[in-house]
């Protein structure tokens, strides 16, 4: 099996727009934006590619931090940014199509927000 190459660069939140702009100039396409809750902070990966060598920019944010939207550079980014807002309760500023939390309508507001305590399930019990 041939592996797809993947480089991950950790950057500061303030550099995000600059670095994303550079990626756009190089002709990369946006693959995804994904958020990982790590208990006390969130890690957000912005993945770009031209062929099968993927590049990820990684920022680390805390609850209540404001994340600048990259939807000014990549128009299609709004879907991921609204998803992050709806599922994780993070604030993304200046999205081009802002759904105000109505893209994914969940019964519990921001259900993926931080890691909740994992409840022990007894054997054969209900998960």
């Amino acid at each position: 099996m041939i592996e797809q190459k993947h480089t991950i660069t950790e950057i500061a939140v303030t550099d995000l727009l600059k670095k994303t702009g550079e990626c756009h100039e190089k002709g990369h396409r946006l693959v995804q934006i994904g958020c990982t809750p790590l208990g006390d902070c969130y890690e957000i990966n912005y993945t770009f590619t031209t062929s099968w060598d993927f590049e990820s920019l990684r920022i680390t944010v805390n609850d209540g931090d404001k994340i600048p939207s990259i939807s000014g550079i990549y128009w299609g980014a709004f879907i991921y940014e609204n998803e992050i807002h709806d599922l994780f309760g993070l604030t993304v500023t200046d999205i081009n199509v802002d759904f105000q939390g109505h893209l994914i309508e969940t019964r519990i507001p921001s259900p993926f927000k931080n890691a909740p305590p994992v409840t022990k399930v007894k054997k054969g019990g209900d998960a």
Partner: protein
């Protein structure tokens, strides 16, 4: 200039079985803007990974989607295997590839049928689904399930296919190939189909690339983008060539899928011819520790499974970026400026799978 009105479209719609809601801003009969809303089938499967053993989760990963089920489980397994450094035996890789191509065939035939149905071509719809049934029969005879295969596991596959059965499968494919070609011919040449779909919902190559279109949506617009060319599983050894069309309209997205069914038949035949012998699974010990982005080409497009694990039985984060989610921005672009009556057909051509998009 007429007044602008907003027409809600979905989540329940006679043409579209998928629960996507679109607020269509209309000016007379023309769509000016479309605002999508999803979330009607959010199941929180990504969250479930924190409660379940990572080996058991393969079966849940498979249930993310009812159509690309097998591809989801393979992608998940690829990610885990990469993190743990497991070398999957060649025979398992080949059989996985065969099943993935089978699921591509049945998914595309299902979609072709649905499209025919959406434009009122009932006969073609029945025809496509009859062919799909033949594919599903082979699928059930080898995995035991029609759409949920449950045959992939971390480190290999659960069930082997005997060489006799592989031969039978190829014979069967040879038998239905003329029928597939016939239905392909209808999609390419039939006046009804062309009239309904040519020049409709055009997505330019630049837009497709920039908005992150993937899969048949991108390939219909001339982007040569297919993860299978990167050679995961056994694709590297099968001499794979992507199917690309250039007009970027509904008909080309349709033809990409129609051609890919035939390409999938070729791939299965080649995979059977090259099938290596050997074990079908590798013993898995311990727990994963690390992170990996696994990419694969699903029937609907490029799919990504991101896994972050910390050496425990439960994985920290499993993020799935499904093709439908990333195809929504291009869809919004496509819808701008078309007639209200064409909306269902255009929405259908990205092959929306909202169950996937929301996990």
């Amino acid at each position: 200039m007429g007044n602008q009105i907003v027409v809600p479209f979905g989540p329940q719609h006679p043409v579209l079985p998928e629960p996507i809601h679109l607020d269509l801003v209309l000016e007379d009969e023309r769509v000016v803007e479309a605002v999508p809303t999803i979330g009607y089938v959010h199941r929180g499967l990504e969250k479930l990974v924190e409660k379940r053993d990572y080996k058991d989760y393969v079966l849940i990963a498979e249930r993310i989607c009812g159509i690309c089920s097998f591809t989801h489980s393979v992608t998940y397994c690829n990610a885990i295997e990469r993190i743990m450094g497991i070398e999957v035996p060649a025979r398992a890789q080949f059989i996985r590839t065969i099943w993935m191509e089978y699921s591509r065939m049945h998914s595309h035939l299902l979609w072709l049928g649905l499209t025919a149905d959406a434009m009122g071509f009932e006969n073609l719809f029945m025809n496509a689904w009859r062919l799909r049934e033949e594919i599903l029969d082979d699928m059930e005879a080898t995995t035991g399930g029609r759409v949920i295969q449950g045959s992939c596991k971390v480190g290999g596959i659960r069930r082997d296919i005997s060489d006799d059965k592989l031969g039978e499968m190829v014979d069967h494919l040879k038998k239905i190939r003329p029928l597939l070609e016939e239905s392909n011919r209808i999609f390419t040449h039939d006046q009804t189909v062309r009239h309904r779909m040519r020049g409709l919902g055009v997505l330019s190559k630049e837009d497709a690339w920039d908005l992150g279109a993937v899969g048949p949506t991108a390939r219909g617009s001339g982007c040569d983008m297919d993860v299978r060319s990167s050679g995961y599983s056994a694709y590297g050894e099968l001499g794979f060539k992507p199917v690309v069309f250039t007009h970027g309209d509904c008909l080309d997205r349709c033809l990409v899928r129609s051609e890919e069914v035939l390409a999938a038949v070729d791939l299965v035949e080649r995979a059977v011819a090259k099938m290596p012998d050997g074990p079908i699974e590798e013993k898995v010990k311990g727990n994963p520790d690390g992170e990996y982005f696994a990419f694969s080409e699903q029937p609907r497009g490029e799919c990504m499974h991101y896994i972050k694990a910390n050496g425990k039985k439960n994985i920290v984060r499993h993020r799935v970026r499904t093709p439908t989610l990333t195809n929504i921005p291009p869809l919004v672009k496509m819808l701008e400026g078309i007639e209200m009556a064409d909306v269902p057909v255009v929405v259908l051509t990205i092959d929306p799978c909202i169950g996937c998009a929301e996990r």
